[in-house]
Amino acid sequence: MAAAESRTAGRSPALARALLIAVALSFLGLFLVLPLLTVFVQALAKGVGAYAAAILDPTAWASVKLTLLVAAIAVPFNLVFGVVAAWAIAKFEFRGKSTLITLIDLPFAVSPVIAGLIFILLFGSHGWFGGYLKVHHIRVVFAVPGIVLATIFVTFPFIARELIPVMQAQGKDDEETALSLGATGWQTFWRVTLPNIRWGLMYGVLLCNARAMGEFGAVSVVSGHIRGLTNTMPLHVEILYNEYNYAAAFAVASLLALLALLTLAGKSFLEWRQPELRHAARQGRDRTRREIT
């Protein structure tokens, strides 16, 4: 075995190996590191004072608060859905399971702009429910509810698609044992299932939250861009940028970039705790597909 190993190592010359590593690192440096670096350099281009002023600006603050609010509503909604859908799909056999999984993934195949458009078509002034909402003085589109709806739509599959493979891998033996020992369904869920899936759950929440806070296209279409009222952080970045206030735009953007880095750090931590999470989504899908076909 060792002899064979060294033989192949000898066949793959060190030069080719160095070349491939250089190409890969240059590509990643060019497309990942440089843009990330740019954000922070541009944010501090006019000094720390200007950076602080841009972040402490009241409209910037309002956008931070709105972003946190939207994520605080959208993520729990998709969290409950993710757990419930994963329970149904992972613990039971039924017809049309693969179709259901495909439908849950559907929002990933829809352009964010179209995700915004559909809520305009439903709740806009010319939309299906536009007349009703107008009579009752309820604003959905160009207001916070529309932003929340669009965010829920684009982040819809995140938690479910992480949890389904995790729950499938767990099987249902633990739960059946708990039930046979006299636990109720709820007790089984809280004391057995939830502790089993907690890392996967956090993983899904982390990814869902990153997208919810960073979503641009869908939110841009339904927000109406009212400063201080319906501007999330990404939309605030756009407005500042379009006003040629680059340093301020990059200052707010740097907060979002920090969030991205924190997300990556959290993701790496969870993958270190639970290595199966790394490729869980993909393998789970393949397994489901194989089981069905």
């Binding site: 064979a4 033989r7 192949t8 793959s12 080719a16 491939l20 590593i21 890969a24 690192l25 590509f27 990643l28 990942l32 440089l34 843009p35 740019t38 954000v39 541009q42 859905f81 859908a85 149904a88 039971f92 439908l103 195949a109 829809v110 352009s111 964010p112 702009v113 179209i114 458009l117 559909i118 078509l121 299906w128 709806l149 819809f156 249902k172 739960e175 039930l179 369904g185 997208r211 960073g214 641009f216 296209g217 279409v221 952080m233 990404p234 939309l235 756009e238 940028y241 990059f250 953007a253 970039a257 969030l259 991205a260 990556l264 750090a265 993701k267 790394r278 490729h279 993909r282 393998q283």
Partner: protein, 293 residues
């Protein structure tokens, strides 16, 4: 006639189906599946169907007129064309990155591996302004490219750059687990039998990678077609030249041209769904061929 009879025979020989109450051991099937269906319908299926139903109201003639307008055709061609180029770039470099990450060791490998997910975590608007700042004529990279006569920002080339960034993780992340699972003994056997490194790559490794490459390509392509946030800053957004289809939807919405926006959305959705189905079928075929070896 013989085949169904044989199938019937096999069926009777297989063990009897589990008793009806097997599903009933764990509680909550009806509740969780019901909740899943209702939530999915209310937030995804019904809103998405609104686009199709609204487009029916246009009438075929008007619909055809909207989607064959030169500006619309140009934007669709640009969106799909640039996405195709970006996805192909990601297939080539994604393969190299995945290979390097799985097969070789080098300093900071874990950090590099974690960074690959940056495009998932970084809000698209932030990516957009960062790439624009990099490639603008006075930017870090644009400054060097300009004397060579290469303009990236505010041209279709800039769109390809942004879409490459957005699609980068997909190919790497779909290839990694497949490369990790690849049986190295097969390669060693090929080497022992006198195959060169290149031969063994083309004849032994590539056939095993095709399905994953195709999946990664499809995911990167689908994501790129609908992308909005990272593109609009770098694109320049000139009608007929550098205006992507999602932007045209937004433009039509801002002009209260709901019919026009809906028509373009329908074309985009149908093209993307059709493409995904086609690639899914192709992948299924590749997987069954490879699996049956």
């Amino acid at each position: 006639m013989a085949a169904p009879a044989a199938a019937f025979e096999v069926k009777t020989l297989s063990p009897p189906p589990p008793p009806r109450r097997a599903r009933g051991v764990l509680p909550g099937f009806g509740l969780t599946l019901g909740y899943t269906m209702v939530y999915l319908s209310l937030l995804v299926l019904i809103p998405l169907s609104a686009v199709f139903i609204r487009s029916l109201g246009l009438g075929w003639g008007h619909f055809y007129e909207v989607v064959t307008a030169p500006r619309v055709v140009a934007s669709l061609r640009l969106s799909f064309g640039a996405s195709l180029i970006a996805a192909l770039i990601n297939v080539i470099f994604g393969l190299i990155v995945a290979w390097v990450l799985v097969r070789y060791t080098f300093p900071f490998k874990r950090l590099v591996d974690a960074m690959v997910d940056l495009p998932f975590a970084l809000p698209t608007a932030v990516a957009g302004i960062a790439l624009t700042a990099l490639y603008a004529p006075n930017g870090w990279l644009g400054k060097w490219l300009l004397p060579l006569g290469i303009k990236v920002a505010f041209t279709p080339l800039g769109i390809v750059v942004a879409l490459t960034f957005i699609g980068l993780p997909f190919v790497v992340r779909t290839l990694q687990p497949v490369l990790e699972d690849l049986d190295r003994e097969v390669e060693q056997a090929a080497a022992t039998l006198g195959a060169s490194a290149a031969q063994s790559f083309v004849r032994v490794i590539m056939p095993a990678l095709w399905p994953a490459l195709l999946t990664g390509f499809a995911l990167a392509f689908a994501r790129a077609v609908g992308e909005y946030g990272s593109v609009i800053f770098i694109a320049g957004n000139m009608p007929m030249k550098s205006e992507i289809a999602p932007l045209l939807i937004v433009t039509k919405l801002e002009q209260y041209d709901y019919a026009g926006a809906t028509a373009i959305a329908v074309v985009m959705l149908v093209l993307s769904f059709g493409l995904m189905l086609g690639i899914n079928a192709l992948q299924h075929w590749a997987l069954s061929r490879h699996g049956g070896r």
